[in-house]
């Protein structure tokens, strides 16, 4: 009988695992089990969906035939309630039905859950939602009309992408954050201010250094004492790795699910990948939560391949990496901002930071200018990303020739030849 690989989750890490396993094996039976009822879709696309740049058909992360073509049984709308690692089963429920599934190998790719700090009276707010899933976007589509007052708690990536997403539906958007600046997890003060000005020019109002203390129906009383009246509340304070199943099953959990370099948890034959895990950031050399889609896919891919029995694919390339844009102004960043800094504020509103430490490129931030059709600052950023990822010694690269414009010409002739005159495997 074919061995069975059960995957909990249906997003990037899960799809990566299917493709990673199928790249080396055709025989394993694969079951995807997910609490969402939808065909796999790109989670970060929900803001673009609201903005009208895509639609429910086009957000599909893989084609309609993905499951059948890969021999996947998709149990959608089923919530896994428990993992029994000793018996190698998972229990699930759907509406009034319950059941259990036997597995040979299990992948937990359960993503993140919204983090909502205790706020008095939150239960009295009639219309409120997090902003992580397609259903959250549908909720906003249904309830946000012209002039609807939307109050977003949290000026991080999720809160601000939500603001952009609904900006064609209403012009009445206020975002607050306890931090004194926006995008606190990825930008320092001055850069945050640049982005804040840009977003304000596009009609979003901010209340920074302040957050809701208590709610009473459609009214929030802020820590500062200010009162905000709203119709719809979006809770985007933060997210946490969804570790509950592994924790309850007795697996090691730190900030996220703990895995080894082959994506194995401490539970036998149980792997984990994606936003629910803790990763090892190769640039800061620290364990971190790197809840980012490219990392999730790569980790899932490695997990799938390893689960097939090869155990030969370490997941060892994780690092912070963000491509984020608001109203045409883009930020591309990767790595850690440590060591010697090369920094350029452009007259056109653009910004460039390149950081190197101990002979290696460690991190960069590139921000596009105010002319949203000019992307020259962002040009070819992946060359920098890969210098970081590959830990290319900078003494083999002419740094001066690439620091203000990414290119391959600063690479040594033999490295260039390898890249361009043959096929890299």
């Amino acid at each position: 009988m074919a061995k069975k690989f059960v995957i909990i989750g249906n997003s990037a890490a899960a799809v990566g695992a299917v493709e990673g396993l199928r790249a080396v094996d055709k025989d394993w039976e694969i079951v995807i089990i997910s609490d969402e009822p939808y065909h796999t879709y790109g989670r970060p696309l929900i803001s673009y969906l609201l903005f009208g740049k895509t639609d429910e058909e086009r957000i599909k992360f893989r084609p309609d035939e993905f499951y059948s073509a890969n021999g996947v049984t998709a149990m959608l709308g089923c919530t896994v309630t428990q993992i029994d690692a000793a018996a190698k089963t998972v229990s699930w429920s759907k509406d009034d039905y319950t059941g259990s599934l036997q597995y040979d190998k299990l992948l937990v790719s359960t993503g993140s859950v919204p983090f909502v700090p205790p706020m008095n009276g939150l239960e009295t707010v009639p219309l409120k939602t997090p902003f992580m899933k397609l259903d959250d976007a549908k909720f906003l589509q249904e309830h946000v009309k012209a002039d609807t007052r939307v109050f977003i708690i949290g000026a991080g990536l999720i809160g601000l992408k939500c603001a952009e997403g609904i900006s064609k539906l209403t012009k009445n958007i206020t975002v607050c954050d306890l931090a004194p600046r926006i995008l606190p997890s990825i930008l320092e003060d001055e850069l945050a201010k640049i982005m804040q000005n840009w977003i304000e020019q596009n009609g979003v109002k901010f209340m920074l250094g302040d957050t809701a203390d208590k709610f009473d129906g459609n009214k929030a009383v802020m820590k500062s004492g200010a009162v905000v009246e709203f119709d719809v509340l979006v809770l985007a304070v933060g997210v946490r790795p969804n570790v509950a199943l592994i924790k309850d099953a007795g697996g090691d959990v730190n900030k996220g699910i703990v895995t080894d370099q082959f994506c194995r948890t401490s539970l036998k034959d149980v792997y984990a990948a994606g936003d629910c895990t803790e990763s090892f950031d190769i640039t800061s050399e620290q364990a971190k939560i790197l809840a980012l889609l490219p990392n999730a896919y790569a980790q899932g891919y490695a997990a799938g391949r390893n689960a097939a029995g090869l155990e030969d694919k370490p997941y060892d390339s994780a690092m912070p990496m963000n491509a984020i844009g608001f109203w045409g102004k883009h930020i591309l960043s990767a790595g850690s901002y440590i060591g010697e800094k090369h920094e350029v504020f452009g007259d056109d509103g653009s910004y460039r930071l390149i950081c190197r430490d101990a002979g290696l490129l460690k991190g960069f931030i590139l921000i596009g200018g105010n002319d949203i059709h000019d992307h020259s600052v962002l040009d070819r950023a992946g060359i920098y990303t890969n210098l970081i990822k590959d830990k290319t010694p900078l003494d083999t690269v002419d740094f001066e020739s690439i620091k203000d414009r990414a290119s391959l010409k600063g690479f040594a002739a033999d490295a260039r030849k390898k890249k361009l005159a043959g096929v890299e495997r």
Binding site: A12, G16, G42, R43, P44, L45, Y48, K53, T54, R58, I59, K60, F61, R62, P63, L293, P294, Y297, A298, Y301, M321, N322, A323, I324, G325, G328, H330, L332, A334, I372, H373, H375, L378, D379, R380, A381, G382, I383, T385, N386, S401, A406, S407, L408, K409, G410, A413, R416, K417, K418, K419, L420, A421, G422, V423, E424, R425
Partner: protein, 152 residues
């Protein structure tokens, strides 16, 4: 599978490939099409010539390597980049222009298109009217070639 390679010792740095690339990807085939498509416009070719490597002596053209393990495909948040018969292919209809692929391509060969609403990349001219890489066909010094090669 055939790919586009550049023999950098033969590249003159004339940038003609960039014009042929831009023309081909605007639906043009002939020199007349090129005049009509490109006159007075800023071009957005998918191949880029780099000038002045090795102390100014060397020029070379770069475009998508059609990787075996394409980072752009693996990091695309929209499922807009796929591998079709070995060719890394972009679907602008699904692309939302997040530029994650710009951030991850090791060669810098996935780039914002002229409008910046989506990205663009070399698809070997297999989906435009030219049907085979226009850059290689029109390279005056045969520095750019379209052929099958192995790993170096």
């Amino acid at each position: 599978m055939r790919r586009v390679f550049v023999n950098e010792e033969w590249c003159l740095g004339c940038h003609l490939c960039e014009y042929h690339c831009a023309n081909a990807n605007m639906g043009g085939v002939t020199a007349q099409d090129m005049v009509r498509n490109l006159r007075g416009k800023k071009i957005h070719p998918r191949i880029r010539v780099e000038d002045g490597a090795d102390g100014g002596k060397i020029n070379f053209a770069v475009q998508c390597r059609h990787c075996y393990d394409p980072m752009c495909v693996k990091s695309c948040i929209a499922g807009a980049l796929t591998v079709e018969d070995g060719v890394v292919t972009h679907n602008p209809d699904k692309c939302v222009g997040c530029f994650t692929c710009v951030l991850t391509c090791p060669y810098g060969c996935v780039m914002p298109d002229g409008d910046g609403k989506v990205v663009q990349k070399c698809e070997l001219c297999l989906r435009n009217k030219v049907g085979a890489p226009a850059c290689a066909e029109h390279c005056p010094n045969r520095a750019i070639v379209y052929e099958e090669r192995g790993t170096l």
